[in-house]
Symmetry: D2
Subunit: 438 residues, 4 copies
Amino acid sequence: MKKPWAGRFSDRTSASVEAFTESVSYDKRLWRHDIRGSIAHARMLGRQGIIPKKDSAAIVKGLDRIAADIDSGRFKFREDLEDVHMNIEAALQVALDLRLYLREETTEIISLIKDLQKAFVGLAGEHIDTLMPGYTHLQRAQPVLLSHHLLAYAEMLQRDRERFADCLIRIDVMPLGSCALSGTSLPTDRTYTAKLLGFSRISGNSIDSVSDRDFAAEFLSVSAILMMHLSRLSEELVLWSTEEFRFAEISDRFTTGSSIMPQKKNPDVAELTRGKTGRVYGNLMALLTLLKGLPLAYNRDMQEDKLPVFDTVDTVKACLSVLSEMLPGICFDKARMRDTAGEGYSTATDLAEYLVRKGVPFREAHEITGKIVLFCIGRKIPIESLALTDLKSFSDLISDDIYSVIDPSNSVKTRSSFGGTSPSEVRRQIRHFKKLLR
Amino acid sequence: MKKPWAGRFSDRTSASVEAFTESVSYDKRLWRHDIRGSIAHARMLGRQGIIPKKDSAAIVKGLDRIAADIDSGRFKFREDLEDVHMNIEAALQVALDLRLYLREETTEIISLIKDLQKAFVGLAGEHIDTLMPGYTHLQRAQPVLLSHHLLAYAEMLQRDRERFADCLIRIDVMPLGSCALSGTSLPTDRTYTAKLLGFSRISGNSIDSVSDRDFAAEFLSVSAILMMHLSRLSEELVLWSTEEFRFAEISDRFTTGSSIMPQKKNPDVAELTRGKTGRVYGNLMALLTLLKGLPLAYNRDMQEDKLPVFDTVDTVKACLSVLSEMLPGICFDKARMRDTAGEGYSTATDLAEYLVRKGVPFREAHEITGKIVLFCIGRKIPIESLALTDLKSFSDLISDDIYSVIDPSNSVKTRSSFGGTSPSEVRRQIRHFKKLLR
Amino acid sequence: MKKPWAGRFSDRTSASVEAFTESVSYDKRLWRHDIRGSIAHARMLGRQGIIPKKDSAAIVKGLDRIAADIDSGRFKFREDLEDVHMNIEAALQVALDLRLYLREETTEIISLIKDLQKAFVGLAGEHIDTLMPGYTHLQRAQPVLLSHHLLAYAEMLQRDRERFADCLIRIDVMPLGSCALSGTSLPTDRTYTAKLLGFSRISGNSIDSVSDRDFAAEFLSVSAILMMHLSRLSEELVLWSTEEFRFAEISDRFTTGSSIMPQKKNPDVAELTRGKTGRVYGNLMALLTLLKGLPLAYNRDMQEDKLPVFDTVDTVKACLSVLSEMLPGICFDKARMRDTAGEGYSTATDLAEYLVRKGVPFREAHEITGKIVLFCIGRKIPIESLALTDLKSFSDLISDDIYSVIDPSNSVKTRSSFGGTSPSEVRRQIRHFKKLLR
Amino acid sequence: MKKPWAGRFSDRTSASVEAFTESVSYDKRLWRHDIRGSIAHARMLGRQGIIPKKDSAAIVKGLDRIAADIDSGRFKFREDLEDVHMNIEAALQVALDLRLYLREETTEIISLIKDLQKAFVGLAGEHIDTLMPGYTHLQRAQPVLLSHHLLAYAEMLQRDRERFADCLIRIDVMPLGSCALSGTSLPTDRTYTAKLLGFSRISGNSIDSVSDRDFAAEFLSVSAILMMHLSRLSEELVLWSTEEFRFAEISDRFTTGSSIMPQKKNPDVAELTRGKTGRVYGNLMALLTLLKGLPLAYNRDMQEDKLPVFDTVDTVKACLSVLSEMLPGICFDKARMRDTAGEGYSTATDLAEYLVRKGVPFREAHEITGKIVLFCIGRKIPIESLALTDLKSFSDLISDDIYSVIDPSNSVKTRSSFGGTSPSEVRRQIRHFKKLLR
C-alpha cells in the first residue's frame, strides 16, 4: 500500500526497514483502546462542527462495526476509514492508547493486590496462635506468630497498592489534541474528548504530551518494587518447603515433580515468581535507558516503550493471580513450627530482659545471657533443661519464674507494643486490614 | 573494645571482618538523625516510667552535649553513654535514621525542583515570542515558541515533585519500637516518640518495619525518573550549544575550555548531568538487586542500602542546584532560532491544513504538499520563494493568502488549542505555573 | 496427559499453574537443537550398549522424521517416542539446546559484525579525503577525515567480534551427561556425544553443569556492549541527518515520513536501534538479577533465562543487518563537511603548535591563541580572515606561512602519528582491516 | 589559579561549577599511574628529540621526586612542572591511567580468584568422602559429595578467571599519543612509550582511542558475573548456617552477634557479599547507561566512568579476600550432612534405575518408585524401613539387593561418569585443579 507520506519521497521503503520498524505485531493488543480513542475524537470533532455531524456519526458507527468484527474474529481492514487516522498523529494516539490500556490494567492490578492481601489476612486469621521462629540473618531470633509474619506481607502489599494508585493518577491524563507537537488551529474541545474517555485531567503542554513516558516508567518502577516483595515471599516459600525447614507444604496442585527423580515435589510457582522478578527489573532498566538523553519531543526510540510495559503487565498479573490461588492451600506444619520457635535459644532476649527487670544493667544482662547460651550450646541442650542451680551460677537473681519467662508462648504474649507480635496486636492488625480491604 | 555480644562467642572477630562489615565510614553522616532519634526514645522511656525521669533527662542532656561537640569538631566518644544504644536494635535505629535523613533530603529536593521550575518559568517569560523549530525525530517538525518548549520541562518537573511528595508520605512513617523484630514487652508509647520526631504515622507490623526498605527503593526510582528528565534537558543544551545548532550559549562561568584546543568552550555541566544519570540508574538497580529474594526480617545485606541512597541524594541535589544557577544565564540566539524555525519546510503542515480548509481531503492535501516540498528540495529553495503560479501548478486552490499562512509566526499563533504553542496558551501556562510555584 | 511424575502426587496440577509454568510457547524455537541433542544422545547410548543398537537406530530415524515433519509443518506429536526424553533431565537438555542455539547464533552474529565492519571499511575507502570536523564535547575540536571517523567504528566492532569469539569458547562446552545433578551410573561416553554435536569440550563437574548459566550472562553482556556501540553510531546518524548538521542523508528506502507533516523524513532505523539498546541492557539485568543468590544446582527460576537470550539474539541480528544494508547508501554532503571542518576555529591547535615550533612555551602559545579566537568570535570572523598585521599584534612570531598551517586540509595531513587522521595513516588502517576481514 | 584555557574566556568559572566538575577527590588514587605515564611520555619525547634530552631527564627526575613525596605524605604541588601535563590531553591521559590501574588490579583480582579456588580445592580435599544431599529446587534430589559440591565453585571461578584474563588483553592497549582526537604532527614513537609502560599493543585509531571505554564496561560485566557466583555461594553459606540446615558453622572470627539477642551468631560476611552483588550490578548499569548514545569522541560524561570502576575493584577484592580467609575455618557437620543425604527419598532415582536394570521401562519404573515414595510419606518412614514384602507389593522385581542400592554411599559411588559425584571422579577433578592452580 502507498504510504500516506509518499509524496515527499522518491524511493520506496526497503522491505528490511518495514520489518525493522513495524510494531503492529505487538501494538495490536491496544486495538480496543485505539478504537475507543478514535470514536471519542470523532464525536468531539462532530460536536465542535470541525467535521459534519453526519460524518462524525458515520465514523463512529464504522468504528463500532470494526470493533465488533475484531471481537468476533471477522475483521477485514477497511481502507475508506483510514482518513480518520490520518487526522491524528499516530505516535500520540499510541500514547493515548497506552494510557487507556495502563489505566485499565493498573486498576486490575490494584484489585489483584487486594485479593492477595485478602489471602494473607485470611491465612493470618487461621493462624493467630501458631508459633514460629522469627528470623534475622536467617538465624532464629525471637518467637513470633505465623499470623504476624504473614501480615508483614499484607503491609508491603498495602504500600504497593498505594504506589499503583498514585501512579494511576498520573496515568489518568489525556494527551490527545497535542497533534504533532504544537497543538492545533482547529477549535477542538479536549475537555469533552477527555470526558468521553473518562480521563480526570488533560495534559497542559503539547510538546511535553508528545515526549512524556513518565507514566510508563513509574508503572514499571512500582511494578519492580511489587515484584521485589513477591520475590521475598517466594524465597520464604521455597525455604519453608525444604526438608530442612518443613514449615509448609504447598499442595500438589501447585507443585511439580521431576521426570528423573520420583520423590521430588518442587515449589515451581515460587521459584518462577522469584525468577520473573529479574524480568520486571530488566523491563524497568530497558525503558529508563531508552529515555535517557532523548531530545524533545517524539523520537522513534519511544516505540520500544510498549514491549516492556506489556511484558510487565502480563508478568505482574500472572504472579499475583497464581499466588492468591496458591496461598490458601498451603498446609503449615504447626507442630514443627511451634517446636522450632522455642529452639535455637530464641527466648534468650526474654531472659536478658528478665534480668533487666531485676535491676541488672542491660549490657551486663546481655553478657550473662550470652554466657548461658554458650554453656548450653557446649552441652547441646536448651536453656529450659538447665536446673535452677545451674542458672543461678550465672546470676543469683534468677529464680523459679524464669522457666515461664522463656517459654515461647509467653514470650510472644508479652510483645504487645503497637505493631508487636502478641495475639492481641495481631487481632488488631487483622481488624485493620479487614476494614481496609472491604 | 569488647563487643556487647561477646558473651556468646569464644573467639574474637577477625580484623578483615571488622573492615569488611564496618559502615561507620559512611553511616556517620546520619549522626544528627541518630542523636535526634535517641533523644526522642529516651524522652519517651522517661515519660512512660520505663527509666527514671532523672536518667532520661541526663541522657538527653548528654546527647545534646555530644551533638554540640560533633558540630564544633570537638567530639570524643563517651563510653558511659553506650548503654543508651544498647537498648535499641542498631539495625532498626539505622532504618529510623535513614528515614529522618530522607525526609529532610526529600523535602530539600522538592524545594530544589521548585527552584528549577522557577528558572524555567522565568526564562519562558523572557521568551514568550521567541520562535524556534519544534522537533520530532530531531527533524524540524513545526515552529513552536521557545517559551513553550521550556515549559515542557516545567511540566516534567511538576510530575517529579508530585512523585517525591508521594514518596515522602511513605518515608514519613516511624519504625522505632519494633525492637529486634517482634515488638517489646515494655510499656512504650510509640505515638509519643513519633510526635517528638515529627512523624505522621507509625509502622503497623514490627516484622515488616525491620525488613522494609521500600521507601529507599521508591526514593531511588523517583530520582531515576527525575535524572532521566535532566538527561534530556542536558542533551538539548549540548545540542543547542553546538556550532551546528547555535541556539544557545552557556555563559563562561558554566563552561570549561581545553588545555590543548584553545578555541574550545564545552558544556560540561550538561554533559556531567547526563552522565550522572547512569549513576542514579545504577543505584536503583543496586538496591533492587540487593532486596531481591531476601527472607524476612533483617538481613545484613541491607546495610548496603545506604551508599546508593547517599550517592543519589548528593547527585540529584548537585544537578538540580547547578542547573538552576546556570539556566538564567543562558544566552539564546533569537535571530538564529527564528530563522531556522521557518526553514526545513516546517510549515508544510500549515499548507496542508490550508488545502483542507479549501475542501481538499486531508490525504490528498498531504500528498500535494509532499510534492511541493520535494520540488523545493530539488531546487534548494524554501516554499515561500515559489511564485504563486508555481504553487498553483500543484493545486488550483492555492491563492495569494498562502504566504501568510506558511509564515512561522502566524503558524504558531493559530495553535491555540489547550496546551498548544500559541502565545496566548503559553501565557496561560506561565500563569498556571506561577500559581503552582508560589 | 498424565505427568511422568504423577506417581508421587495425589492431586492434579492446577490449570493456572500449567499456564504459569509452561515454556513451550517460546522454547519451541529450540526444537532443531533439541532433536539434534537427542539424536546424539541416542547414538551414544546405542554405541555404548546402554540401549540395543536397533533401538538406537529406530529412535534416530524417528527423530529425523519428526524433524522433517516440523520443517514441513506436518508435525504431529508422537507419544511413543516420549521415553527418549524421559531418560534425559529436561532442564539439562534445555541447557544443551540453549548452548547449541547460542553457538549457532553467536557464530552468525560474528559474521554479521564482520559485514558491518566491511560496510564501514568500504565507506572509508570512498571518503579517504573527505574532511569533517572532529568533535569532543560535541564541539568542533580539530579537522579529521570522515574515513578516519568511520574506521573508529570498525575498531569498536573488532573488539565486539573478539568478545563474542571469547564467549563462544565458553558456550562451546557440552553439559549433557550430568543427569539430574550427580552424573550417572551408566557407562556413557560423553566425549563421543560431544563429538557428534561438534562440541570442543565437555563440562567437568555435573553440579556446576546443571546450575551454570554463565555462557548466557556473558553473551548478554557482550551484546550489551555491542548495542552501546550501535547506539553511539545511531546517535551520530540522527545528528548528521538534522538540518543543523546536514552531513548525511539516509536514502528514502531507510527513512520514513510523517502522516501529519508532509516535509518530514525521519531516521527511524537509527532511532529504533538506539532505543533497542535499552532492551538489551534490560535483558542483561534480567538474567543477572535472576541468577543472584540462587543456591545450587538447578532452580526453576532458570527457566526464565531463555526469553532475554532470544530477544537479544533477535534484536542484535536485526540491528546489525539493517545497518549493514543502510550504511552504503548514506549520501554524505562532502562540501558541507569540508566547510564546517574549517569553521569553529578548529585549527586553533595548529596555530598554537605553530607558535610552539617558533619557541613559545606551550602554555603561553595556548593563551595567545585563545585570545586570537576570542577576538575573532567578537568580530564573527574566522582566523584566516585576519590580516597578518592583526595576527602579529598578538605575537610577533607569526608570519605569512600561518595561513597554510591553519588550513584544515594541511592540518589533517600533519597528523601522521600511528593511528592519527592523516590520509596515509587512514590508508594503513584500511589495509589493516581488509586483511582482518578477508 | 588561572586556567590554562583562560585566554578564550571573558568570565571566570562559577564556584559551583568547579565543585560540580571536579574529579580529583577520587581521581587521585590514580596518581601513581599518572606519574608513570608522564614519565614514559617524557622519556619518549626526549628520545625522539621532540624536547631536549636534558629537559626530558629533568622532568623524569622531578616526577620521581613527586612520587616519592606523595608516597611519604610530604607532597606539595609543583607549579613549574605543570607544562608537562599541558602537553597531554588530560582526558586521554586519564584513560591511560585507568588502563594502567585496571591492568594492575585485574591481575591482582585474577590472583585473588586463584586463592579462592585454592581454598575450595583445599576444602574439597578434606571432604572427599563427606556425603550431603544434592539439591534441585532446594529440594533434596540425590546424594552427592560435599567435595563435589565445593568443586562446582572452583569451576565457576575458573571461568571467571578466564573472563578476566580475556578482558585483560583488551585493557592492555596503550591509547597515549592520540592527543585531542586526531593524532599529532610531532614525530612521536608510540611503540616506545608502550614498551616503557609494559603495554602489549597500541591503539590503532585516535578517535576510537579517545572515546573507547569498552575495557571498563567489560571489566564491570565480568565482575558482575563473578559477584553473581559469590552471591550464590553466600546464599548457600547463609542457608547452611541456619538451625534448620546445620551443615556448616562459620567460625566466631567471621561472624557477629546481636546487641539485643544474646544467642545470635550471624553469617554477616556472606550476607554482605550477597548484598554487595547489587552494588556491582549497579555499577555495570551505571557505565552502560552513561555510554549509551554518546557521539564520538570524548564527552565529559565519561569522567563518571571512574567511580563505578573504583567501587567495583574495591568490592570484588574485599569479597574475594575475606571469603578466602573465611572458607578454611568453616566447620562442616559431617554427621548431620550424611544423615540428611539419605533422607527425603534422595535415592529414589537409584531405585528407579534399579528397576530399569531389571527390564522395567523407565517411565513405568519412575511411576512405581513415585508410588513407593508416596506410600512412605504417608507413613512418615524412609524407604529402607519398608520390608521386602512391602516393596514387592509395588513390583515383584525388587529383591533383597535393593537396600544396598538405595544406600547413599553406594549411590554416590556409582556416579562415575565424567564430571560425576563419585569419589574417583572427585579425585580426578582435584588433580585437574591442582595442576591448573600451580
